[in-house]
């Protein structure tokens, strides 16, 4: 497979980030190329969510530069399909699956415009993509955790993004649904959508991602699907228990070919 490496989708240089009195991210450098599938791991409080917020233009960086699709994040983010953390939602909100996915068709430029038949076609297509077309008239609160997460993926896809950005998509989702979600993401990635995935779930993501980065204030990333010794040695608290228990060997050892 020939990779087009000419266009960086996200380019982060010497980034420091955090909140009023605390810096959570230090000197982060990261370039995400088209078609990559990055798994981002790290301990709680390691800055994963902060980094996502900065990429999405929801939090200004303290220092350093961030470009999304070659633009400032607040412009470039329109090309990112964001799948938020499942747990933050009001699971009792009265809304249908279809209406949630339809939100993906909204944008700042279309405020006074009605949605068209084409928008509806896209919504249906994305619902079919995540295998939930039969559920379109259900209320979101009637769905299981895994189904709901797929609705949010469909909503992100409905924005027709260059890149998907997912924050812990499989928290409180059972194993079977988890597998289904990762296989879905794998297929989406195969069709040319870049994916940045934040997860604790190293055990599963290692089978699907192309590269892995580890974030704990600093960022360790080599553009490879390998957790290097340096990552562990530097004390990044990457989930060592997962690594010890049944992590596929190749992730730890072998250098992947072609990437």
């Amino acid at each position: 497979m020939v990779e087009i490496k000419a266009l960086p989708q996200v380019e982060i240089k010497n980034l420091y980030g955090g909140y009023d009195h605390e810096t959570v991210l230090e000197d982060i450098n990261l370039t995400i190329w088209k078609n990559d599938f990055i798994g981002l791991i790290g301990p709680n409080g390691g800055g994963k969510t902060t980094l996502l917020k900065i990429i999405l233009g929801l939090l200004p960086p303290k220092k350093g530069s961030v470009r999304v699709m070659g633009q400032p994040p607040q412009k470039g983010r329109q090309h990112i399909g964001y799948v938020p953390q499942f747990a933050i939602f009001d699971s009792d909100f009265p809304i249908s699956v279809y209406d949630v996915v339809k939100m993906g068709r909204l944008s700042g430029k279309r405020i006074f415009k009605r949605l068209t038949d084409k928008d509806n076609d896209i919504v249906e297509e994305k619902l079919a993509r995540v295998d939930l077309l039969d559920y379109k008239n259900r209320g979101i609160r009637e769905l299981s955790g895994g189904q709901r997460q797929r609705v949010y993926i469909a909503r992100a896809l409905a924005t027709e993004p260059e890149m998907l950005l997912l924050d812990e998509p499989t928290i409180s989702v059972d194993f079977e649904s988890r597998k289904k979600i990762y296989e879905l993401l794998h297929n989406i990635n195969q069709q040319g959508v870049t994916i940045l995935l934040v997860s604790h779930d190293l055990n599963v993501i290692s089978s699907y991602v192309k590269t892995i980065g580890c974030l704990n204030r600093n960022f360790h990333y080599h553009g490879e699907k390998e957790i290097t010794e340096a990552m562990l040695q530097a004390g990044y608290n990457c989930p060592v228990d997962l690594i010890a228990h049944g992590l596929p060997h190749r992730v730890l050892a072998d250098h992947q070919e072609g990437r």
């Binding site: 999405l56 233009g57 929801l58 607040q74 983010r77 329109q78 990112i80 964001y82 938020p84 939602f89 009001d90 909100f93 009265p94 809304i95 249908s96 209406d99 949630v100 339809k102 939100m103 993906g104 909204l106 944008s107 700042g108 430029k109 405020i111 006074f112 949605l115 209320g139 979101i140 609160r141 009637e142 909503r155 924005t159």
Partner: protein, 271 residues
């Protein structure tokens, strides 16, 4: 019944019930779904400061209430958006200060002040033609805004972060919504009084949200319920010579408890 309807004040009251039910259903739905019940209560009570001030300076109390409730909306909205902690404390403090200002200025105003009570407890039977015109204006404004921004309001109510990433004007929508809440509060104040506004703003929408899953349908159902509550409460209060505001609230509150019990009881209700 026919005799009752022949009174001008009763005709005005019924028209007020219709006009008020529209904002109660439409804005109430947004308040409930966006979890702004507490802030709405704060706005309502703070508005009393405006009523007291207006009395003192001999201005139409409604104008004072509008000014104060808009001011309170923006202040509380700002607090809710910008402060990370203690927002409920700050809103609670403003709530109390607003009321206190109203009471002090009422004290300072010489003469007969019984009318001040009607802002606390409502008096749907004392609604004037001018009040009706004001209500109609608020209805038209509020409903046009909601129709205009419907899909965006729904998106921000459901998931504000996603809406922001889509570059929707989340902050502007919030300002619009909170201003609409401020205006609705003044309108509802005439009918049930500021102390009980919260019930009329939340109960119909909360019942709707229990059983329906389409925001538009919830708005319609809430409007209908609100109409039933206000007119039902009005008739009961007229028949038994009770306070109309409190009767309206008890009718809605009672219905809410029944709806809640039914909802709990039949988990398999169509959803």
């Amino acid at each position: 019944m026919a005799e009752m309807l022949s009174y001008g004040f009763m005709q005005n009251a019924l028209m007020a019930a219709v006009l008020v039910s529209l904002v109660s259903g439409v804005i109430g739905t947004l308040v409930v779904l966006k979890r702004m019940v507490f802030i709405s209560g704060g706005v309502a009570h703070t508005a009393y400061g405006g009523v007291g001030l207006a009395f003192y300076f001999g201005v139409n109390p409604i104008l004072g209430a509008v000014a104060f409730s808009l001011l309170a909306s923006f202040l509380m909205g700002y607090v809710q958006r910008k402060t990370r902690q203690r927002q409920d404390t700050l809103i609670g403090v403003m709530w109390a200060i607003g009321m206190a200002i109203g009471i002090i200025f009422a004290d300072l105003t010489p003469g007969y002040k019984a009318d001040l009570m009607s802002y606390l407890f409502g008096s749907i039977l004392a609604v004037t033609n001018a009040d009706l015109l004001l209500m109609l204006a608020v209805d038209i404004l509020v409903i046009s805004l909601v129709v205009l921004f419907y899909k965006e309001l729904q998106a921000t109510a459901f998931d504000e972060t996603f809406a922001r990433v889509r570059n929707l004007p989340v902050d502007l929508l919030y300002v619009i919504l909170i201003a609409m809440i401020g205006l609705s509060v003044v309108m509802l104040m005439r009918v049930v009084g500021l102390i009980m506004i919260i019930a009329l703003l939340t109960v119909p929408a909360a019942i709707g949200a229990m059983y329906l899953k389409n925001m538009k349908h919830i708005m319609w159902l809430a409007t209908g319920l609100s109409l039933v509550f206000t007119i039902g409460g009005l008739l009961i209060s007229y028949t038994y010579n009770l306070s109309s505001g409190a009767t309206i609230i008890l009718v809605s509150g009672g219905t809410y408890l029944i709806a809640l019990a039914l909802h709990r009881f039949c988990r398999r209700c169509p959803n």
